[in-house]
């Protein structure tokens, strides 16, 4: 697999998912693994999702980037197959295995046909249980990772998000790039890769979901086959980070015509009783569609940007309210001014009844639309498990949105939106902005 291609901006939906008729079974395998399953025999394939909690946050001290590099190597040779033999075997089955990692989880996304399911699962098992990490593969994938790091160093968006995360989370893994630095990645050895795998790919942190042409009994066997020979435990999760960011402005000089600004402050926990109120509030302020206040004020009324948004960043061990905007160097200061004003206005006044009604209709109407394929449903279900939402969550989620009142919003707005604490990191050559701190 190639780690070179940069991330393509995705449409990110923050809130969780489902259609009332989604019929989830909880499956327990003979070996004791559990999964959520939706049987759907319309199309002869299965989408399988596996997550290992902890992800790249489990990098050993001084080994930043090891888990990311290891993730890129999982299917670069396994058992008696080198990288090319493994890829040829996978492609001949028309199966697809994707391995990815972020700071809270390592993910395995597999897709295989019913007609050759046994062979595909056996092949995936080899990658999970018996990866080779051949030195030539380590060196080849490392070169791709280094090339990506080199590109990130000159990408204004990456520089901005990297800067704000470092300021917010310092030495905690959340404070640095999970890819590591050129120095840390260059220094990684094969032993580090082997150790990285042991830290993250363990039985005590695994979550599984499947959707498609597979029954509960078969899924149980598949889980035992894929996971039964993994180590029982992995490394401990790191402690919660100290939040180190205060309000203000940081400018990173970069010679480019359009400044990119990333902004944020502390947020709210996923299981806080006011989470839904905060979620609805953010939707009005800077959420998804074209109708948010930030889009209206910054783009529609003033034409200052192509896009501006805010979102609740809910990580396992930290939460922020974050946002992003980009404007020409001579216009970014006005965009930042408008965003700050909207932040203050929402913090003081909350939202109007009309806005609340409209956003509820949108959120509750949009929710069932997410469950429109095997792959998206599998992805949603594994996410629900990791967030420790109940198996009945889908049926109750819209009620939780509908239960949010104007008073709830006002309370949570005053609690989490704080224009004084809001920090902007601007990458570019902005005119008329003085970096205070």
């Amino acid at each position: 697999m190639t780690r070179f291609i940069a991330l393509i901006a995705a449409w990110i939906c923050l809130s969780l998912p489902l259609r009332a008729e989604v019929d989830i079974q909880e499956v327990t395998s003979p070996g004791g693994f559990t999964a959520w399953l939706v049987e759907s025999h319309d199309i002869p394939f299965t989408a399988l999702e596996i997550r290992f909690r902890g992800g790249a946050s489990l990098d050993a001290p001084g080994k930043r980037g090891a888990i990311n590099l290891m993730t890129g190597l999982i299917e670069e040779g396994a058992g008696d197959m080198d990288a090319r033999a493994f890829a040829a075997a996978r492609d001949a089955l028309a199966a697809s295995f994707r391995f990815d990692v972020h700071n809270d989880a390592l993910s395995v996304s597999a897709r295989f046909l019913t007609e050759n399911r046994d062979e595909a699962v056996a092949l995936l098992r080899q990658a999970l249980v018996d990866p080779r990490f051949d030195q030539d593969a380590v060196d080849r994938v490392r070169a791709q990772v280094l090339s990506g790091i080199q590109s990130d160093d000159k990408d204004p968006d990456t520089i901005a998000s990297r800067t704000i995360r470092r300021m917010a989370f310092g030495d905690h893994p959340y404070g640095s790039d999970l890819e590591g630095t050129a120095e840390s990645v260059t220094a990684l050895t094969r032993d580090d890769i082997v150790d990285a795998r042991a830290r993250v790919m363990a039985q005590d942190r695994v979550y599984v979901s499947a959707v498609g042409d597979i029954d509960a009994e078969t899924l149980g066997q598949v889980m035992d086959q894929l996971l039964g020979d993994l180590p029982e435990t992995g490394a401990d999760l790191p402690p919660k980070p100290e939040y180190g960011l205060s309000g203000g402005l940081t400018v990173v000089d970069f010679d480019t015509p359009q400044s990119v600004a990333v902004f944020g402050h502390q947020g709210i926990e996923r299981h806080d009783p006011d989470f839904f109120a905060a979620y609805v509030l953010n939707e009005v302020l800077g959420g998804g569609g074209f109708g948010s206040r930030l889009m209206e004020e910054v783009r529609e009324k003033r034409g200052l940007t192509y896009g501006v948004y805010s979102y609740l960043m809910s990580l396992d061990q930290a939460n922020m309210v974050m946002g992003r905007v980009a404007s020409a160097n001579d216009r970014i200061s006005e965009a930042i001014q408008v965003i700050g004003d909207e932040w203050a206005k929402a913090a003081t006044d909350g939202v109007t009844q009309e806005e609340l009604d409209a956003v509820k209709t949108y959120l509750t109407g949009a929710y069932p639309l997410r469950f429109d394929g095997n792959a998206p449903i599998a992805n949603i279900m594994v996410g629900m498990q990791m967030e420790e939402l109940g198996i009945d969550y889908i049926a109750t989620r819209n009620d939780k949105v509908n239960a949010v009142t104007l008073d709830d919003i006002k309370r949570v707005a005053a609690r989490i939106l704080d224009p004084e604490a809001l920090h902007f990191v601007v990458v570019g050559q902005p005119a008329g902005l003085n970096a205070g701190n």
Partner: protein
């Protein structure tokens, strides 16, 4: 202008892009083509309206107007003023957006299936009812300039790509960027937008795709009611663009920018596209691209440049078969540390020469055939993807029949077809070779 119209004989071939029994197509009395793709697994529908008008249909000097109009189409109509369309879509739990390419402009909504009628009412209303104030145009022009800043001015790779395309096409408007040249974008006016709108937005220049939990009968009744009420534009011009002259001279360019982190070599060749009733050469080129660069592990370029030697950290081949006029076939090599762009290009040339001498690896070829078959299964899980595929094909001049026969045409491709297509396409006189470089490093060693 192709007004397909005939009720296509529905071949019940298995392993199609969509099962043929999933797809129904018909044409309204005013010439608007309609395709219905059924998927009853979830109560969702996607409505897309595709206009056979894109950036390559713009008048000279007005680059970006197709895309600018796409933005302005959300401003409002008499019946639904002040951006009411998106508000109503959102109020119904839906999402909407639009996109513009060289060959088409498309608008879509994704919403609960029982809201389809409102979506048709809104979309048909703005086919002819657009209202724009000077203020709308002034503000939105700033938005598209910021969009260009974000996509292009801030991205040296995108600037490089614009220069390459301009060199690739000597005469055809594919050489002009979709978003527009910066200096022309700032002159685009309200009148320019209306001129383009009135010339191209009409039912007889549009394709309606409805995909999801719907029946063809219901879609037909609604489409007749809303779109059928709009008269055809009798003055619609046939779609003709300036064509390429014979390309007789290889072009080379070097683009340097201090923001370039990772230099690379990219070469594109002028290549034939899928034509109505004639998709065989394009199918062979799809396999050629997959054989050369479809996988980072097993394809020819990866084997020769990343495994047998360590010249590259990344290599690929790409080809867009869907296009109204001549498309391009591309090769890219990202050199490994210590390898120069000249060395990378030389290694690429050697790899291609080797491929032309050795021919097709049959094991890899059979694997690609298997994957093509499997795609017809996996694709059924993504109804919006299917909708896009039909829409893009029909808006590019193909018929439903062409779309449905495409998988079989792919399956019928032989290694001889691939080699013949390769011999034809790899003509340096029709190629542009570009180097993306760091500034002030005309022939440097990468890190």
């Amino acid at each position: 202008m192709r007004l397909a119209g005939l009720f296509s004989a529905l071949f019940l071939l298995c392993g199609l892009t969509a099962r043929a029994d999933q797809v129904t197509d018909f044409t309204l009395d005013n010439g608007m083509e309609v395709v219905v793709i059924e998927d009853h697994r979830a109560p969702v529908v996607v409505q897309m309206v595709w206009y056979r008008a894109g950036a390559a249909d713009e008048p000279a000097g007005k680059s970006g107007i197709a895309h600018f109009l796409e933005h302005l189409m959300f401003k409002g109509t008499e019946a639904f003023p002040d951006g009411a369309l998106s508000d109503l879509v959102e109020a119904n739990g839906g999402s909407d957006n639009a996109f513009t390419s060289w060959d088409y402009t498309a608008y879509y909504q994704r919403v609960a299936a029982d809201r389809l009628e409102l979506m048709m009412q809104l979309e048909s209303d703005r086919m002819t009812g657009l209202i724009l104030s000077e203020e709308d145009v002034r503000t939105e022009r700033e938005v598209i300039k910021e969009e260009r800043n974000q996509r292009t001015e801030n991205e040296p790779g995108a600037l490089f790509s614009e220069q390459r395309m301009a060199a690739q096409y000597l005469n055809h408007p594919y050489g002009v960027p979709i978003i527009g040249w910066k200096h022309e974008m700032s002159t685009l006016s309200r009148q320019d937008a209306f001129d383009f709108y009135r010339a191209h937005y009409a039912p007889n220049n549009a394709v309606l795709i409805v995909a999801g939990d719907v029946t063809p009968q219901d879609v037909r009744a609604l489409a007749d009611k809303y779109y059928g009420a709009i008269p055809a534009d009798p003055d619609l011009k046939p779609r003709t663009r300036p064509e390429e002259p014979p390309q007789l001279a290889e072009r080379r360019l070097q683009f340097a920018d201090p923001r370039v982190a990772q230099p690379y070599v990219l070469r594109t060749y002028l290549a034939p596209e899928r034509d109505p009733g004639d998709q065989k050469r394009a199918a062979a080129l799809v396999f050629l691209a997959d054989l050369l660069g479809g996988s980072g592990t097993t394809s020819v370029l990866a084997q020769k440049l990343q495994f047998d030697t360590q010249v590259a950290v990344y290599s690929s081949a790409f080809y867009s078969p869907l296009s109204v006029d001549d498309s391009t076939f591309g090769l890219v090599v990202v050199p490994a540390a210590g390898v120069t762009l000249q060395q990378a290009e030389d290694a690429l040339d050697t790899a291609i020469e080797g491929f032309m001498a050795d021919g097709v690896d049959m094991e890899l070829f059979e694997t690609l055939k298997m994957q093509t078959r499997a795609a017809s299964i996996y694709d059924r899980d993504d109804i919006q993807g299917l909708a896009r595929r039909y829409g893009a094909a029909l808006a590019s001049g193909l018929s439903v029949e062409d779309v449905q026969s495409w998988p079989d045409i792919l399956q019928a491709v032989t290694p001889e077809d691939v080699m013949a297509a390769a011999a034809e396409v790899f003509d340096r006189r029709r190629a542009v070779t570009g180097w993306l470089m760091r500034d002030d490093a005309p022939e440097e060693v990468t890190q």
